[in-house]
Point group: C2
Chain length 323, copies 2
Amino acid sequence: MHIHIENDANGPDALQLPVELLRQRLETHPQLRSHFTLTENSDATHSATFLANADILWAGRKLALDQFAAPRLSWVQVMSAGVEQWLPHLPQGVTLTNASGVHGDKGAEFILMAALMFNFGIPGFLQDQAQRLWRPSFGGCARGKTVLLLGVGGIGSAAARLLTAQGYRVVGVTRSGECSAPVERCISIDAIDEVLPQVDVLVSTLPLTAQTRRLLDRRRLDLLPKRAGIVIVGRADVFDYNAMREKLNAGELAGAVLDVYPQEPLPTDDPLWHTPGVVMTPHCSLDDHAAYLEGCLEVFIDNLVRFRSGRALRNQVDVARGY
Amino acid sequence: MHIHIENDANGPDALQLPVELLRQRLETHPQLRSHFTLTENSDATHSATFLANADILWAGRKLALDQFAAPRLSWVQVMSAGVEQWLPHLPQGVTLTNASGVHGDKGAEFILMAALMFNFGIPGFLQDQAQRLWRPSFGGCARGKTVLLLGVGGIGSAAARLLTAQGYRVVGVTRSGECSAPVERCISIDAIDEVLPQVDVLVSTLPLTAQTRRLLDRRRLDLLPKRAGIVIVGRADVFDYNAMREKLNAGELAGAVLDVYPQEPLPTDDPLWHTPGVVMTPHCSLDDHAAYLEGCLEVFIDNLVRFRSGRALRNQVDVARGY
């Protein structure tokens, strides 16, 4: 059984999986020792040769798999949570597992921070500061405020735990309307229109699927109260960024703490850079490079054990569902 | 026994104590009913007349008590936590109780927010955003980082609980080197020089006293590592703001989240407004006006019960200590 590692030569060192590290982990694992042969590549011109012989692929970069002959390939472990770029190219019969959950700890802390920033009016005070305006505003505690959490997967569940512990009332939103995370209640995506008018903080960790694309369009954004702040750490295209920007310009939202954008890096002429109430981080607030590779490797090793024993893999992407 | 309420005519409505509200609270309290006469005033030209007959004073504004004849006055309940402006004017034999603890819940949330903002590099990303620069930086989780908490009183204790629950390693600093809050360890003010070099976030909730004035002078600020962020919600004059500003300009600190200033409102020509890494709120991040009066009233009612039964009052200021 052959595992091939495809690293991204242009990516950061911390995200490359050295074949020696994987070999060492397999050799010290009682159930995985001596079962796999390994190769590693980061030169795109050689990928085809390696894929031709791979049973299992560790993918450190995106590959349009349907453009390769990979007759033995049965399973691909990717290093991202979002997989919308993999799905159109996934050959029939190949299982895809993602890195869902690996972003949870840091992502949850970021979401808690952003929710608190809205409670303390930071987006507004940053604008006052730029104009040297002293305009105190004595609001209440964050505790008891309402967070609508779009997506209760790896990041969302971790965020629900922190927000609930902090006293926020968390309403979770999932496809099914059910989740096991500690939320006050969980609703299905179809039911969000009723809750949007009561929201203090709208948080999205949603993946991009046919159902989620432009879910937060202008009509739904218009249902939010003026006091609401928006936090987006899932896929950007779930939101109509133009509509959101226009509402921020009109003072119809409290602000937006954003880590993701329709185009990345955000073009320098994009008006979002200087939209009032926008606090931007450049798509780095969920990834902890020091811990990320280790987190992905933990999922992979667990999955190799499951694979060997014929059990269902963890983080398996449902192709029809899209995540 | 006569209680006089001195309200601040220039203050917000939410912080005025109506005499009828106090009367109602006393009448519905089994131990306080029918024991007190009450007056209320907010006209400074009449204060002397009212103080001449007061046994107990509820002070909604600052008064230089030594400039009044108040022969019967034995106890003053003030609505602030800091009392450095009361102490030089406090007549011998008058007990002063403050509002310590009333700011705890909101103050703790603000401190947690500020600590998280440093973890996610927000002060730096705000500067990048202003220059339309896309420069991701993939740091780790907040959990495990070190917060040095100067002052573990009402706000500090509440902050220690939230920060510890979030996984921060909290080192408390008190006059005695001891505290009952959930900190990893507690040290005395004299010992902070040894800890400053290991700090990720330095938080001050300290009152202004002879011992704390300019405690964080240039020499001590120079002991902080470059990665450190500063959060000041106690009295501003505990810090050398000029030295802090110079270090921020030189890139020798990660940033500062400030709610208090040496002069308030901060003069429009103060260079702090545009100092890199500074995030400012205009001295409003601890006071929750919706809950503040009720919080102070709760302390006062409790103290009236203690007063009637001859027990020690809660939040009694130690004049020698200065808080």
